[in-house]
């Protein structure tokens, strides 16, 4: 350093003015368009996707909330303190109250066990009650609920009791007028035994005392329903947890419906992955275009330095340019993002029947922040490298592009990508998978490109041929070729991964609930009713499904020791209930077992599960340890669901003692199964070999698919078999199918957005080598090479790079799919054979076409003008 005192230097305002002028001129000259486009693309995809998912997620949650008739539910066998309702009201939440109990109802001719439900006036807080004026008649919404002295009943109650509309029904000491047929209540599936004891009778909560049916010791499920602002609900949930020391817990729909929760979670993961890909691709495009821009600005930087600009001032100028670009990109991208999401909503109007909540401002911040990170990680390094330009470059042009060859930009880029991935996924696993497959691709690539350069030279045919020219071009631009293959393969890999994942995910969902999924459960069937029911159904041309015997069993001991409670070490106190249990005659039920053990010793909690026995392995079950007993079965064996077995620490050969109908039954664990829980079909944690439980008096369960008019058959069926219980899950299945359809549409759209981002990357990558191609081909043409030769050689060059990228991309896509599907999406992975042809083929064709289209002007402009322009 010296004692030199600087002269007046340019102020920030001056530098910004210079920056803006350069920006404006470069924009007019077209140099910045791709860079801006890439940044706009990043903002658009992030804000668009975020806006869409933000609103869709809230909408889905809202719609799902209708399955609870509320946003949150508090339930218990005892009535939770009433002050809690007042507290909620004070906090601005809406509340309602429900009491459910099993009871006998009477008409003058008959009686029937029903699931009675008494509701307060505000019920339901979410969703709607649908009623009809005649049994199985046309439904309409009526949220008023039954008035005092009236009941609404499910259709099958009327034939069972021989009643008509307007007749009187007796419940306990109360008399009620049947005023409506209840077709649908939003939370029909939520209860256990109390809600499934029989057909529903809905009554006014204020009528309950007059019936005198609830006595000390009665089995009643009490539910408090809450709805309101999400944040307020969370605060209230915490408050409840504190008050009850964990005995009560506010649950939302994710706790209640595994199917919806899985669909939402997978959908979200996919959308997230999609936007991540879109942003990373946009990031690569930004890096490439920024690099090209800065390469073109080395001379600028050198000239500015001769004019007295310091390195920092040059940085300031280009920082100003980038910041202005960022600003434009954020504004334009946010507007486009808004339009994109509005467009999607317009497209999906038919599948999103509910009004969407207003979008929050978060997606826009997310877009802006993403653009900022992209800018810093991908665009800034090459532009800041400009400050290292030697001013001597004005005298000696051969002091070429040294600053950019350092690894700094790559380190920045990789770090930026990592930050983005981690930030978006909030998931170390996804991040590792993504980074791992990228690293894998890069590794394969290095080896491949080495081979490429060797085979390229070996395959050189006669001099002057297009092949020769193309291969020498690939070799000459070795660094660039490798970079291009890398970028192309990453892009194609992203697109392939997403496309395949999308197909698999949607296929999987469709397989989960196919069109012919049975939508009615029949329960409480006695063994001597089976034959009669089968013939009734056959007469009416309805397909029959297997009849599963069902009995409640509580696990007492494992190898002589008391059985651990399966959900003891689990936050999710409700555990998993099978569809069978939700539909079944008895909810998994914690009962204290054994005699009075005193205050100090807690009684063993025994969980009752609905169990079955069968010789055939039920569909969607897969034996993962041991062997299915098949035909040569013997009594005394049990098959356990794998995860449940892990929870209670049971392995093959263990001896389990169950209590079934007050008798103790011993069975040896013979095999373990995995079960597809989300298929809405009868599923069981324990399946016994035939002969083990047969003597213990089971009832039977079967399923039916009834559509449209066929539902009217239920009237006759129930008249003939009045003791059976029919549970309608058709509305639930439709609801889940509709949610899945929405999520699928969203996924299609994200895939399309990523495709656009990918195209942008390909274009930027081709453009990155445009200058050099111009120069080379102009020289070749002045030396007499024909247009056709050059065009053919360009085509071969790009096709070759495309082919290589396609092969690597296919490999990378299958690899990352393997991990994503097995680790993130809980799907089974299988190779996609057609991709091994389609991937490389698509790579070759797309890259060749794109490259050829972009560089066509290389041959169509006159060599003189090219040389002149480039030397200027």
């Amino acid at each position: 350093m010296s004692d030199y005192s600087p002269a007046t230097t340019a102020s920030p305002v001056t530098l910004m003015r210079v920056a803006l002028r350069l920006l404006w001129r470069d924009w007019r000259g077209g140099e910045l368009r791709l860079l801006l486009l890439a940044m706009v693309m990043a903002v658009t995809s992030v804000s668009g996707i975020a806006l869409f998912t933000d609103r869709l997620e809230r909408a889905l949650l809202q719609e799902s909330a209708t399955m609870l008739a509320a946003d949150r539910v508090l339930s218990g066998r005892q009535m939770p303190p009433r002050e809690w309702l007042d507290e909620a009201t004070q906090r601005g939440l809406m509340t309602a109250e429900v009491q459910a109990f099993a009871s006998m109802v009477f008409s003058d001719q008959a009686n029937l066990l029903v699931a009675a439900k008494a509701v307060s006036e505000a019920y339901p807080l979410r969703g709607e009650l649908r009623v009809a004026d005649q049994p199985f008649g046309a439904a309409y919404a009526d949220n008023a609920g039954p008035a005092r002295g009236e009941v609404w009943v499910e259709s099958r109650v009327l034939p069972s009791l021989g009643l008509e509309m307007g007749d009187t029904l007796y419940l306990g000491d109360g008399e009620f007028v049947v005023s409506r047929v209840l077709v649908q209540e939003p939370d029909r599936q939520q209860g256990g035994m109390m809600d499934n004891a029989g057909p529903r009778v809905l009554m006014n909560l204020d009528d309950v005392p007059s019936t005198n049916v609830i006595q000390p010791g009665s089995r009643v499920t009490y539910r408090y329903l809450f709805a309101g602002e999400l944040a307020e609900l969370d605060v209230y949930a915490d408050w409840v947890r504190e008050q009850s020391a964990g005995d009560f817990r506010l649950r939302d729909v994710r706790d209640e419906s595994q199917e919806v929760s899985d669909a939402l979670a997978r959908g979200e993961s996919f959308l997230l992955l999609g936007s991540l890909f879109a942003v990373l691709l946009a990031g690569i495009a930004i890096a490439l275009t920024a690099r090209r821009y800065s390469e073109r600005h080395f001379d600028y930087a050198a000239i500015l330095k001769t004019l007295g600009c310091t390195s920092n001032q040059i940085s300031a100028i280009y920082f100003g340019i980038l910041l202005s670009l960022l600003l434009i990109a954020v504004v334009v991208g946010s507007v486009l993002g808004w339009l994109v999401h509005e467009g999607i909503l317009l497209l999906l109007q038919s599948v999103i029947p509910i009004a969407l909540p207003e979008a929050s401002f978060t997606p826009f911040w997310l877009g802006a922040l993403t653009a900022f990170i992209c800018l810093f990680a991908f665009a800034m390094p090459p532009l800041l490298a400009l400050k290292h330009t030697s001013p001597l470059r004005v005298l000696r042009k051969d002091l070429a592009d040294a600053p950019l060859s350092t690894s700094l930009p790559y380190i920045f880029g990789i770090a930026g990508a990592l930050v983005l991935i981690l930030w978006y996924s909030q998931d170390v696993l996804i991040s590792i998978i993504l980074v791992g497959s990228v690293a894998g691709v890069a590794l394969v690539l290095s080896a491949m490109s080495y081979l490429l350069l060797r085979t390229g030279s070996a395959a050189g045919m006669r001099a002057g041929s297009a092949w020769m020219l193309a291969m020498s071009a690939v070799r000459r631009r070795r660094r660039q070729s490798v970079l291009q293959v890398l970028v192309f393969s990453l892009t194609i890999m992203s697109l392939l991964t997403l496309a395949l994942l999308r197909t698999d995910l949607i296929n999987d969902w469709q397989a989960q609930l196919p069109e012919d999924t049975p939508n009615h459960f029949m329960m409480n069937i006695s063994s001597n009713q089976i034959a009669g029911m089968q013939s009734f159904l056959q007469e009416n041309e309805v397909d029959t499904n297997p009849f599963y015997p069902m009995v409640a069993a509580g696990l007492l001991t494992v190898n002589g020791a008391p059985a651990p409670h399966p959900w003891d070490n689990d936050d999710d106190a409700s555990g998993r209930t099978t569809m069978t249990e939700r539909a079944g005659a008895e909810q998994p039920d914690d009962a204290a077992s054994g005699s009075d053990t005193g205050e100090s010793e807690r009684p063993q909690r025994v969980e009752n599960r609905q169990v079955t026995w069968t010789a055939q392995l039920p569909p969607d079950n897969e034996v993962v340890a041991g062997n299915w007993w098949g035909e040569d079965n013997r009594p005394g064996l049990v098959s356990v669901e794998r995860d449940y077995a892990e929870r209670i620490g049971v392995t093959l050969g263990d001896e389990l003692v169950f209590r079934v109908n007050e008798q103790e039954i011993t069975a040896v664990v013979d095999n373990m199964r995995t079960v597809r829980w989300d298929n809405m079909q009868p599923n069981f944690f324990f399946i016994f070999s035939p002969g083990t439980l047969d003597h213990l008096g089971a009832t039977y369960l079967s399923t039916l698919l009834l559509q449209g008019e066929e539902k009217l058959l239920l009237n006759d069926l129930l008249r003939q078999f009045p003791t059976i219980v029919v549970l309608e899950v058709d509305a639930l299945i439709e609801q889940i199918q509709s949610i899945i359809a929405q999520v699928s549409s969203a996924i299609e759209l994200i895939a399309a957005l990523v495709l656009v981002a990918g195209a942008l990357v390909l274009l930027s990558c081709v453009n990155a080598t445009l200058d050099e191609r111009f120069r080379e081909n102009a020289i070749l043409r002045t030396l007499g090479a024909g247009r056709k030769l050059i065009m053919t050689s360009l085509l071969i060059e790009f096709a070759f790079i495309g082919l290589l990228a396609g092969v690597i991309a296919t490999l990378g896509a299958e690899l990352s799919l393997y991990y994503l599907q097995s680790e993130v999406f809980q799907q089974t992975f299988s190779l996609h054979y057609w991709v091994w042809i389609a991937g490389p083929l698509a790579g070759t064709v797309i890259i060749a076409a794109l490259g050829f289209a972009a560089t066509r002007k290389v041959v169509s402009s006159s060599p003189l003008s090219v040389l002149r322009q480039l030397s200027a």
């Binding site: 030199y4 004019l307 007295g308 001597l392 200027a872």
Partner: protein
């Protein structure tokens, strides 16, 4: 009196695969204010390197370089850049205009970098002075070589530099255009009283300077006064005006 430019035992060497290559060897040179010095030599004699060192575009391997009283050897690149902005103007063989800026904006640039609010007017006046008043809004690629070089000259004088370095200013121009550009350069140089260092391999052009320094293989072999500056090449000479130069 302090010299405007002074080189003391200046050496420049670069590492090559065959060892150290000496480009300039022990150069000592003193140039006074308002002098016009031609540095001549064949290609590879080291004259452009010497110009780069004198202008502070590059740093020497050994020796000291003083510019406008400041020792460049002790300055970092930032300080050298500031010194260039304050004291130095350039005219290059390849013009080195910023292609995305108009003629006017190119000339405004150094004035603006000095925080001068009057940049536009001053730049327009200079462009008028070099005969390009009708070309203010043209981009470099819309101008002929001669016109581009005149924009570059206007830009060089725009920063009110004390020293002007010209590196083969006519190298990319035909003889007639080159001569007119040189006339303009000398005329403005005389008008602004600038110290001029002109690197050329053209002896006839060198003759127009007051002093000639000849480099051979990195060493000064001749340093002599020239007596008949500006007359013998028979161009429009000092009489060159903006009007004459308008269509170079």
């Amino acid at each position: 009196m302090t010299a405007m430019i002074e080189a003391r035992h200046l050496t420049k060497q670069v590492a090559t695969s065959e060892g150290q290559l000496i480009i300039l060897n022990d150069i000592s040179l003193r140039i006074e204010a308002a002098e016009a010095v031609a540095i001549v030599g064949v290609s590879g004699s080291g004259k452009s390197t010497l110009l780069g060192l004198m202008a502070g575009l590059d740093s020497a391997s050994a020796g000291d370089m003083f510019l406008d009283g400041q020792n460049l050897s002790t300055m970092d690149e930032e300080e050298r850049a500031q010194l260039r902005g304050r004291s130095v103007g350039f005219v290059f063989q390849s013009f080195q205009l910023l292609p995305s800026l108009t003629a006017l904006e190119n000339v405004m640039l150094p004035i603006e970098l000095k925080n001068d609010k009057d940049a536009r007017r001053k730049a327009a006046s200079l462009l008028q002075r070099v005969g390009l008043e009708s070309r203010l809004q043209h981009y470099p690629n819309q101008l002929s070589g001669g016109e581009q070089q005149r924009v570059a000259i206007a830009r060089a004088f725009a920063s009110e530099a004390k020293i002007l370095f010209a590196d083969e200013p006519t190298g990319n121009l035909d003889a007639a255009t080159g001569a007119k550009v040189i006339d303009l350069l000398f005329s403005l140089n005389a008008e602004f009283g600038t110290t001029l260092v002109l690197v050329t391999h053209d002896d006839r052009l060198a003759q127009r300077c007051g002093r000639l320094v000849r480099l051979v293989a990195g060493e000064i072999t001749e340093d002599s006064a020239v007596e008949t500056s500006g007359v013998e090449n028979g161009t429009a000479g000092e009489a060159s005006t903006a009007g004459d130069a308008a269509h170079v």
